[in-house]
């Protein structure tokens, strides 16, 4: 991926993500989240992970944010709320988080091989390759996912049908 494209995308995605956090209206935050997720999927495309890119849009942008929007409407969280002003704890958290992220990035950079990434294996990122890993090496996590989803169903029904 060329640097200008990456930079442009990065700026856009960070801007969108900041909107999610900073916008006073939850509905706008949700919309910004859709944009963020969509732009992230462009990153995935750039990294040759096309299946992940599309699934990102389907599952996160197309399903989970819809749920967010429903909850926002359901609870009528549509009125802008007063955000906590930048007090000492917020500043502390921000500073601490910033340092932590910087450290992580530094550590990550250290592990990157100095010259050029190794060539990707043939068929990297395509559906069949991903499926092969998923359905052979990661069978157990895959099956466990179904149990997780089952729990989600039961929980949702339990929450929704609770009387009083």
């Amino acid at each position: 991926m060329t640097a200008p494209v990456f930079l442009l995308l990065a700026v856009l995605v960070v801007a969108a993500a900041l909107t999610v956090v900073a916008h006073p209206s939850p509905v706008y935050s949700a919309c910004a989240l859709v944009v963020t997720l969509f732009l992230l999927s462009v990153f995935f495309v750039a990294l040759d992970a096309q299946l992940v890119a599309v699934l990102q849009v389907i599952v996160y942008a197309g399903a989970i944010v819809v749920l967010f929007l429903f909850v926002i409407m359901l609870l009528n969280l549509t009125q802008p709320e007063s955000r906590p002003t930048a007090g000492v704890p917020v500043v502390a958290v921000a500073v601490g988080g910033g340092i932590g992220i910087a450290a992580l990035v530094a550590a990550a950079l250290r592990r990157v091989p100095p010259a050029g990434a190794p060539a990707l294996p043939e068929g990297f990122g395509d559906t069949a390759a991903l499926a092969r890993r998923l359905f052979t090496a990661y069978v157990l996590p895959f099956e466990l996912t179904s149990v997780l989803l089952l729990v989600a169903i039961v929980g949702a029904v339990g929450l929704a049908s609770r009387k009083g």
Binding site: L51, F70, L74, A128, A131, F135, S146, I153, S161
Partner: protein, 118 residues
């Protein structure tokens, strides 16, 4: 950069262009004479009774959760379907277990009456 995705960007651009052309044409061609009555919310001829934003039935929220669950299930099935022939019987058994667990969920929801909307 994957070249095959450039056309997708172009398509989005063209779609956006169509939308922009419409909005712009509407702005330039259409009259603009706002009035309080015209801009009032339509409530069947009655004076508007305040904002419509209110709380909604929890059933919609349940629908959304069920949708996510089954959407994730569907998403898992796509790679499986692509690789189905090589996976063979093993793949079938694997997915049968997966689907079975979720079918239990569906039956549960069904039995609990969460699929009744009236």
């Amino acid at each position: 950069m994957k070249f095959q995705y450039v056309p997708v960007l172009i398509a989005f651009g063209l779609g956006g262009l169509v939308a922009a052309v419409f909005v712009a044409a509407g702005m330039f061609l259409g009259p603009r004479r706002p009035s309080p009555v015209k801009e009032a919310a339509f409530e069947c001829g009655n004076p508007p009774s305040g904002p419509a934003w209110g709380r909604f039935s929890v059933k919609f929220y349940l629908t959304a959760i069920l949708f996510i669950v089954f959407d994730v299930e569907v998403v898992f099935m796509y790679p499986w379907a692509v690789l189905f022939r090589p996976l063979g019987v093993f793949g079938l058994v694997e997915m049968s277990v997966f689907v079975l667990v979720l079918t239990v969920g569906l039956v549960y929801v069904w039995r609990k009456g969460a699929l009744e909307w009236d």
